[in-house]
């Protein structure tokens, strides 16, 4: 008599997520390195100077942007990394289907994005403290979290969702590359062609630029990321393991 263990997709996905979080925990070092790089580039990321009445006024604005850009690159890389063979095969040493693997990856990337988004937001404070004690320049009052908590939360949320979207880009590129090299380059060419035509620019303008609020932008980005992950899942459905 056979006793088959019944296991639901949800519980497999949860186990995979838990497992992947441990397995990929080493990525923390890459994140720290890139955030430190971000801080180094952040001081005077945006610097402007004007002269009036023979007096030069320089204003250095240190913002999260540089850190965010570095971490975005990491998000793309990590999204790409976990589609590589070694990472994919690891899943199948345990219970997994391609669907559960993809969902788990998508969730893991979201969790990573949350961690990266929140920490990136706070790296600016590391810089604030450093500059406060080390700079002879005068400081301009800047917005603090307490002044506008909603706005701060929205910025963090936006960063998280954008990082997630970037990781999905890396993910779909990796999936395509693993599945069909030809398809990958084909897609690349199509994207470049689209980018060069005006309509595409117009479309991306509608999506990313013409938004009445950041929240709408975030919602759109979220939708795009979901779409990309779904596409990747569909593509990878015929990908063999240990071949």
């Amino acid at each position: 008599m056979m006793f088959l263990s019944n296991i639901s997709l949800t519980s497999v996905v949860l186990s995979q997520v838990k497992f992947k979080l441990s397995a990929y925990s080493g990525l923390i070092y890459s994140l720290i390195i890139l955030q430190v790089l971000g801080i180094l580039f952040a001081t005077g990321w945006s610097s402007s100077g004007t002269s009036i009445n023979n007096i030069s006024i320089n204003l250095n604005i240190s913002s999260i942007d540089s850190g965010f850009i570095f971490v975005s690159l990491l998000a793309i890389s990590v999204g790409n990394l976990i589609t590589t063979r070694a990472y994919r095969y690891d899943d199948f040493s345990f219970v997994a289907t391609r669907l559960s693997s993809n969902i788990a990856n998508c969730i893991v990337l979201l969790i990573f994005s949350c961690y990266a988004g929140v920490t990136t937001y706070f790296t600016v404070y590391l810089m604030r403290i450093f500059l406060t004690f080390n700079s002879t320049n005068e400081f301009v009052e800047g917005p603090t979290i307490l002044d506008d908590p909603m706005n701060s939360l929205l910025t963090i949320l936006a960063m998280i969702i954008f990082l997630w979207m970037f990781s999905s880009l890396g993910y779909i590129a990796g999936t395509l590359f693993q599945n069909h090299k030809l398809l990958f380059f084909g897609a690349l060419v199509i994207i470049i062609m689209l980018l060069l035509t005006g309509t595409w620019i117009r479309i991306s303008e509608i999506i990313f630029v013409e938004n009445s609020s950041l929240l709408i932008l975030v919602a759109k980005t979220f939708g795009i990321a979901i779409l990309i992950f779904a596409t990747s899942t569909a593509i990878s459905n015929r990908l063999g393991v240990r071949v």
């Binding site: 720290i32 913002s63 965010f68 690159l73 920490t119 404070y125």
Partner: protein, 229 residues
Amino acid sequence: MSNTWMIFFIGLIPVVIGILIVLYITKKVKYKGSLRLNKIVIMIYFSLLIGVGIVYEIIPKEPIVEQLSEEQLQQLQTENEVFEEKLLKQEENKLSQKFLKEEWTHELSGNTLTLGYIGNDSYSTKVVVEWIDSTAQKIEGKVYRSHINLYGLKIEDKIPLHVAEWTGNELVIHEPVEQEFTFEQFSNELNVFQQTDTMEIRMVRGFTYIHLKVPKHIEIVDPLGLQMY
């Protein structure tokens, strides 16, 4: 078309190079340390950053430069415009007295008054002459300066005034000595997400106005064109 290509590829190169470098870093440092160590690092790093944030918010900070809001800047701009308008109409009693910086009288020895300027930016000074019916040689002068604001920083006090000095019959306006101020500002905003540049006014250009009451028989020599009509 070729231009678009150029821009596209030039824009793409740093992104690709960036991704390659990051991929390299990621692969290099991928698995250092045990799971336990990683977990500890993750926790510590997170609490460190949050802690730093809290510490920064509560530590007493040095007196810091105030930043004006968009509306405040708009108001300064309007005040400046109103001032100039009124000055040109010579409605002295309506002039904002907070712009008045100096007041003096000078006794001319001849019938010519020469206006001189020492410095690079003579456009920063405007001389308004009001003719008065008088046979005396006395000239009344008032020095005004309208609001100056850069990047919304409240630093008007830090910008020295022009100095008007008489040497004989010549009124020489000295530009302040060159100085440089650097300010540090922190932003919690992500500029890449800024939908539109919200700061429409980055600068309120203030001027030094010299209001002279000059008897009608005096001739004004103004080689630099400081005078404003």
